[in-house]
Symmetry: C2
Subunit: 254 residues, 2 copies
């Protein structure tokens, strides 16, 4: 029995403006995405047993090799667990690797609800406020210069993608300046929030809103520049809440 060759039509939407694109979509990544979205999106809820290897093989039209490597990847992200004769079952949500870029992008593609976004905002408040306070103490002059450049980049961005890129780069630089490697792990989370917030309404279009956003970021940068940890905390809180409001407001508006 021969597997039919499929053409490279992936047709997958861009998950995020800043997500790096691999030159080639491998078969495995397509299957990983397919099942991952099925899990996050509720087709396979926690506790459910996935179809057997044979069934999934038929569904995605791939060999068992590809299918099993895909399942192994999902297993590594703590989405599923497999046992012989038992089957492959979806783990409870609490086990999932929340910070994983793929898991986050699948949330995005299946449409995050407002409670999800609020939870993310709370985590950002916790981590990024600590991160920015540490950055205020530990940052180098070069890092401060990068932050300022990012703010300027936001101010002059010609389109939403450029704006989001500068925005994300700003947060990444702050995380790096904190000197704590774990802080950088939440950039994927920030990425998702930005992508959600900017999907339709981008502050690039509205010059007034854009000025507000840019100024909030600039206040963070200058607080870090002044090595004022408390001011940096306060300014970062405003930035995060504003991002949440934009994403949430967009959802309730429709």
């Amino acid at each position: 029995m021969e597997m039919k060759r499929r053409s490279g039509s992936t047709g997958r939407a861009v998950a995020s403006a800043t997500r790096r694109q691999l030159p080639v979509r491998t078969l495995q990544s397509q299957v990983v995405d397919g099942i991952g979205i099925g899990i996050i999106g509720g087709e396979f809820p926690p506790g459910a047993t996935l179809p057997s290897d044979a069934a999934l093989q038929e569904r995605f039209e791939v060999s068992r090799t590809v299918l099993r490597e895909a399942l192994k990847a999902l297993s590594a992200k703590n989405l599923i667990t497999s046992r012989a004769r038992i089957g492959t079952v979806v783990l409870p949500r609490r086990e999932w690797s929340l910070f994983d870029p793929d898991v986050l992008s699948w949330h995005f593609e299946t449409g995050p609800d407002i409670a999800f976004l609020r939870s993310l905002a709370e985590i950002r408040i916790g981590l990024e406020l600590e991160s920015v306070a540490l950055a205020a103490e530990r940052r180098s002059d070069a890092q401060l210069a990068v932050m300022r450049a990012c703010v300027d980049g936001m101010a002059v961005a010609a389109n939403t993608a450029d704006f989001a890129r500068s925005d994300l780069e700003f947060h990444r630089t702050v995380a790096e300046a904190s000197g704590n490697p774990f802080m950088a792990s939440i950039t994927g989370l920030v990425d998702l929030v930005l992508a959600t917030a900017f999907t339709i309404s981008s502050p690039v279009d509205d010059s007034e809103a854009r000025d507000v956003t840019v100024n909030h970021h600039r206040r963070v940068a200058e607080s870090i520049g002044a090595r004022d940890a408390e001011a940096a905390r306060a300014a970062m809180r405003v930035v995060i809440m504003e991002g949440f409001d934009r994403a949430a407001g967009r959802m309730t508006a429709e």
Copy 2:
């Protein structure tokens, strides 16, 4: 390249016979652990190219199927990336899924340095202070009762394991009371790894230190009981810093 049939399968049979005593350990997980520890521990630093499939196959004495599923798992944790003809290269540290349970535990198995422990403590400060503040607002009476019971459990614990269990349960309950499911997931993970890594350094032996620790926890619980978010923050900070000091002191002492 080719595996010797006779001796190969014989060796495998013997190996699996000894493995059968620990039924949950699959071949793949051993390879994942082996390479994962090699990466975290510095044998394969970021940017380095891993040995080829064939070489790794020989090193771990497994089939290519098992090896490749193991590599797929590491790839899913963003530790490595593979491309045809290029090889499998270790990604920069910033890409790693540091919050992954396996990656965290590999850090401890390869001997965490004090900077790593400090980073974890900073993460706990960020997350658990926010968590406990939310818990002070949102907690139910039942949850408060559980917290108090945990503190009592710490006070009367007969051994290290019981003490650690009550300690862990306390922090988990606080995280749940925050109403943020992801907060519970992340803090639970970090706390669990820390607890299992340092079960030795519990203050059970030293009754004076034990009283101090228990009282600090009790202050957290009572601040939550009084719905005083700021007091809860302050008390939790003390708890976390004390835990860090004990772990760090233990490292430098030996």
